[in-house]
C-alpha cells in the first residue's frame, strides 16, 4: 500500500542520508521524495511517498523514523484529509503550428506555458500525480523532449472530516 509520510527534521548534515538509508535497509520502496525548508529557521520538511507491505511494516517504519535524533515529527498523512500537490515541467516538440492546439489541451488542467522557443514549448502544471500523468499522456503525441517532476508534497487540511467520509478526500485509496 502507498503511504504519504511527512517528516519535520532539523536541517543538519546527513539527515536525508540517515532517513533514506534507514528506508533502504528496512526495504521500503521510496516512490518520491520532496524536501524543502519550512517557515522556521533550521527546520525542513520531507514528504515521502512509500510503498509499504502491511500495517506492521508501516508501524516499524514510523517508529524507526521517530527514533532518529534529528527527526522532530513523523506524520502518516495517508488516512487524513489532505491537500497534496506535485509540480511538473514538461517540454514538448512544437512549432508555431501546434501552439494553439496545445494551449487548448492544457487549459482545462490550469497549466501554463512558461517557455517557448523555435522548436519547443514548456508547460508547467501543478496537481495530484494522476492529473499530471493525464496531461503528460495527452502531450505525448507531440513528442516529449524532457520532463521534471518535484515529487509529491502534502499536508493535512485545516479541518478533518469524520473518518467515514475520508476516502473521498484521500489521495491514495
Amino acid at each position: 500500500m502507498k503511504r504519504i509520510i511527512t517528516l519535520v527534521v532539523q536541517n543538519r548534515s546527513g539527515v536525508l542520508n540517515r532517513v533514506t538509508g534507514l528506508m533502504h535497509k528496512r526495504q521500503f520502496n521510496i516512490e518520491s521524495i520532496s524536501v524543502g525548508r519550512t517557515e522556521q529557521e533550521g527546520i525542513s520538511k520531507m514528504t515521502f511517498v512509500v510503498d509499504v507491505e502491511d500495517h506492521r511494516k508501516l508501524e516499524q517504519l514510523t517508529k524507526q523514523l521517530n527514533k532518529q535524533i534529528d527527526v522532530l515529527k513523523v506524520t502518516d498523512l495517508s488516512e487524513k484529509a489532505i491537500v497534496a500537490r506535485e509540480l511538473a515541467l514538461i517540454k514538448i516538440v512544437s512549432n508555431a503550428g501546434v501552439r494553439n492546439e496545445v494551449q487548448g489541451i492544457i487549459e482545462p488542467f490550469r497549466a501554463s506555458v512558461i517557455d517557448v522557443s523555435k522548436d519547443s514549448l514548456s508547460v508547467q502544471v501543478t496537481g495530484k500525480p494522476e492529473k499530471i500523468e493525464a496531461l503528460i499522456n495527452l502531450l505525448r503525441p507531440y513528442g516529449i523532449k524532457d520532463t521534471a517532476r518535484t515529487g509529491l508534497t502534502a499536508f493535512s487540511r485545516g479541518s478533518q472530516p469524520q473518518s467515514a467520509e475520508l476516502t473521498q478526500y484521500s489521495l491514495l485509496k
Partner: protein, 576 residues
C-alpha cells in the same frame, strides 16, 4: 549513568591559545572520562598532542589495532555501564573501527567514537586517508556528527555522551577534521545542549503495568524472559524480589544472562537456539510471556510461527520500535526496564492465583532434561573445562567470550549470579571480540577476576592485544578452548552439509605457549582432565596474565539445538 561529581576542567598551559583539540579534551574531562582506547595517526595528531599537554588524568590505552580498541571500549562500557571512549585517525584508522561500531549498535552498548578526518579544505577530494566516515557509519550508529567548527565541540560532545548512554544505548561517532582540531579556537558554545528530537521514554505508563498485573493474576503458566535491558536499567534486584514474591519462572536471552541469578531454583536456563529444553518448552507452552528488555532476536525465537503461540505477550522495552517488530504484543510497555520493574513492584499486589502445576511441570523438565555432554575418559571436552573454570572461581568472575561453540558452552555452563559479569558479542556475533573486551573489563574493574574464554579461531583475530596485557600487566586469564577448528562452522558442516569440512579444520596454528612467552606472559598448555583439574585453581588465582591453551576434543557439538528454520520447541540433542 550520570555521576554527580563535577570536575573543573584544568586549563591547558596556554589557555588563551586553546586549539580545537584542547577544547575537545576539556569536554571529555567534563564528561568524567577516565579511560580512552585509541590509536594515533595523522588526522588526530592535534588531539594526541592536546592529550599529551593536558594535565588531566586520562588513561590512554594504546591497543595494537583499532579493532582491539573498540572491543575493549565495549567491554569497558558493558561492565561499567558507562560510555566507552575510542579515538582513531581518519581513513584506515576509522574503517578499522567499523566492526566494533556495528557490534555496539546491535548489542546496545554506549560508545563515543572520536575519529579524525582530513582537513576541511580537502574534504571530498579523495585526499590521503580520507574515508567518508559519516556515510559509512550512518546505518550502524545511534547518531553521528561531523564537526564543522570548533565552536560546536563542547555542545557536540555533551550531546554525544547523552545520546550514547540514555534511552537505548548505542554508539555515537564524532568525526573531527584535522584543521578544526589543530587551529586556535577563540569561542565555544557552552550552552546546555538542545535535542528537540530526542526524548527517550523512561517511565512506564502505569495503566499498562496495571494491565500486566491483571494478566499475571489470571495466568496459569506465566514466564519472564530477561534481556540485556534489565542490565542496562539496573533492574536485577527488583526483578529478583518480584520473582520470589510471586514465584514466576525466568528464562533469559544470551545477553540477558546474569540479570537473574543463574543458580536460582526459578531460573530455567538460557532460551533459544542453544537454550535449555525446559526454557524453550516453557516459551512454547506459557500463557503469559513477560519480556523484559529483550528484542525477540531470531536466535532466541527460532521460527516465529511456533513462538509463544499460546501466550499473552507483554513486552517492556525502552525502544518503542522493538515492540511488535517480530512478535505481536498484547501489552506493550515502553519504558526503561528498571523503572518498569519498580512500577511493577509498587503496583502489583498479588501474583498468579493458580500456577502450581506449571511450576511442577517446569521443575520436572529441569530434572529430566538438563544440559548434558559426554565425558570420555580420554581427552577433555570444552563443556567440562568451562564447568571446572566455574568451580575453580566459585563463579566469581567477569567472563568474556568470542563467538562460536565455546561461547555457547560458556553461556550454558558458567552460571552468572550477578549482573554485568557476562560480556559477549550477541547480535553481530563478532569473532575477535572476546579477548580485547576482557582488557576493557579488567581496566574498568581492576579488582575483579576477568576471564576471556575464546576459541583458537577467534583469538587469532585480535591476539596482537597481548601487548597490552604485557605492557600493563593486566591479570586477564585467557582460556583458549582449542579444538583446532572453527568449531561452530565445523558443527554446521557436520550437521547440515554431510560432513564436508570446507575450510573449518585448522590444525596449523602457532605454539600459543611460545606466543605468550614472547610477550612475557605466562603460558600453559593443558591436554588432559587430570592436568586441568590440578592446575586450574592456581592458574585462575595467579597474580598476572595467563594464557591457557586447553586442548579439547574437536568432535564435540553444542547441544541441544534448534535447527535453523524450525520452531524452538523442535530441538535436537536433548538429553535422552
Amino acid at each position: 549513568m550520570k555521576t554527580e561529581k563535577t570536575v573543573t576542567p584544568k586549563k591547558s598551559a596556554a589557555a588563551s591559545m586553546q586549539t580545537g583539540a584542547d577544547v575537545l579534551v576539556e569536554a571529555l574531562i567534563e564528561q568524567q572520562v577516565e579511560t580512552i582506547f585509541g590509536y594515533p595517526g595523522g588526522a588526530v595528531l592535534p588531539i594526541y598532542d592536546a592529550l599529551y599537554r593536558s594535565e588531566a588524568e586520562f588513561e590512554h590505552i594504546l591497543t595494537r589495532h583499532e579493532q582491539g580498541a573498540i572491543h575493549a571500549a565495549e567491554g569497558y562500557a558493558r561492565v561499567k555501564r558507562k560510555a566507552g571512549v575510542v579515538l582513531a585517525t581518519s581513513g584506515p584508522g576509522a574503517t578499522n573501527l567499523v566492526t566494533g561500531i556495528a557490534d555496539a549498535m546491535m548489542d546496545s552498548l554506549p560508545l563515543v567514537v572520536i575519529t579524525g578526518q582530513v582537513a576541511t579544505n580537502v574534504t571530498g577530494t579523495d585526499a590521503f586517508q580520507e574515508a567518508d566516515f559519516m556515510g559509512i557509519t550512518t546505518p550502524i550508529t545511534k547518531h553521528n556528527y561531523q564537526v564543522q567548527s570548533s565552536y560546536d565541540i563542547p555542545r557536540i560532545i555533551k550531546e554525544a555522551f547523552h545520546i550514547a548512554s540514555t534511552g537505548r544505548p548505542g554508539p555515537v561517532v564524532v568525526d573531527i577534521p584535522k584543521d578544526i582540531s589543530a587551529k586556535p579556537c577563540f569561542e565555544t558554545d557552552q550552552s546546555p545542549f538542545h535535542l528537540p528530537g530526542y526524548h527517550p521514554t523512561f517511565k512506564p505508563n502505569p495503566i499498562q503495568i496495571k494491565k500486566l498485573g491483571e494478566a499475571l493474576k489470571k495466568a496459569k503458566k506465566p514466564l519472564i524472559l530477561t534481556g540485556a535491558g534489565v542490565l542496562h536499567g539496573g533492574g536485577s534486584d527488583t526483578l529478583k524480589k518480584l520473582v520470589e514474591r510471586f514465584d514466576i519462572p525466568v528464562t533469559s536471552t544470551l545477553l540477558g544472562l546474569g540479570a537473574f541469578p543463574g543458580d536460582h531454583p526459578l531460573f530455567l536456563g538460557m532460551a533459544g537456539m542453544h537454550g535449555t529444553y525446559t526454557s524453550n518448552m516453557a516459551i512454547t507452552d506459557c500463557d503469559l510471556l513477560i519480556n523484559i528488555g529483550a528484542r525477540f532476536d531470531d536466535r532466541l525465537t527460532g521460527n516465529l510461527e511456533h513462538f509463544a503461540k499460546n501466550a499473552v505477550v507483554a513486552h517492556i522495552d525502552v525502544d518503542p520500535a522493538e515492540i511488535g517488530k517480530n512478535v505481536p504484543t498484547h501489552i506493550p510497555i515502553v519504558s526503561d526496564a528498571g523503572a518498569a520493574l519498580q512500577e511493577m513492584e509498587r503496583q502489583l499486589e498479588s501474583g498468579p492465583e493458580d500456577h502450581q502445576a506449571w511450576l511442577e511441570e517446569l521443575h520436572y523438565n529441569k530434572d529430566a532434561y538438563p544440559l548434558w555432554f559426554n565425558n570420555p575418559p580420554e581427552g577433555m571436552t570444552a563443556q567440562w573445562a568451562v564447568k571446572k573454570i566455574y568451580e575453580a572461581t566459585d563463579g566469581d568472575a567477569i567472563v568474556t567470550t568470542d563467538v562460536g561453540q565455546h561461547q555457547m558452552w560458556a553461556a550454558q555452563y558458567f552460571q552468572f549470579t550477578r549482573p554485568d559479569r557476562w560480556v559477549t558479542s550477541g547480535g553481530l556475533g563478532t569473532m575477535g571480540f572476546g579477548f580485547p573486551a576482557a582488557i576493557g573489563c579488567q581496566l574498568a574493574c581492576p579488582e575483579e577476576n576477568v576471564i576471556a574464554i575464546v576459541g583458537d579461531g577467534g583469538f587469532q583475530m585480535t591476539l596482537q592485544e597481548l601487548s597490552v596485557l604485557q605492557e600493563r600487566n593486566l591479570p586477564v586469564k585467557i582460556v583458549i578452548l582449542n579444538n583446532q577448528a572453527l568449531g561452530m562452522v565445523r558443527q554446521w558442516q557436520e550437521e547440515f552439509y554431510e560432513e564436508r569440512y570446507s575450510e573449518s579444520l585448522v590444525s596449523c596454528q602457532p605454539d600459543f605457549v611460545k606466543l605468550a612467552d614472547s610477550y612475557s606472559i605466562r603460558g600453559v598448555k593443558i591436554e588432559s582432565q587430570k592436568d586441568f583439574e590440578e592446575q586450574i585453581g592456581e592458574l585462575m588465582s595467579y597474580n598476572g596474565p595467563v594464557l591457557i591453551d586447553a586442548r579439547v576434543i574437536q568432535q564435540e557439538n553444542v547441544f541441544p539445538m534448534v535447527p535453523p528454520g524450525r520452531g524452538i520447541n523442535d530441538m535436537v540433542g536433548v538429553k535422552p
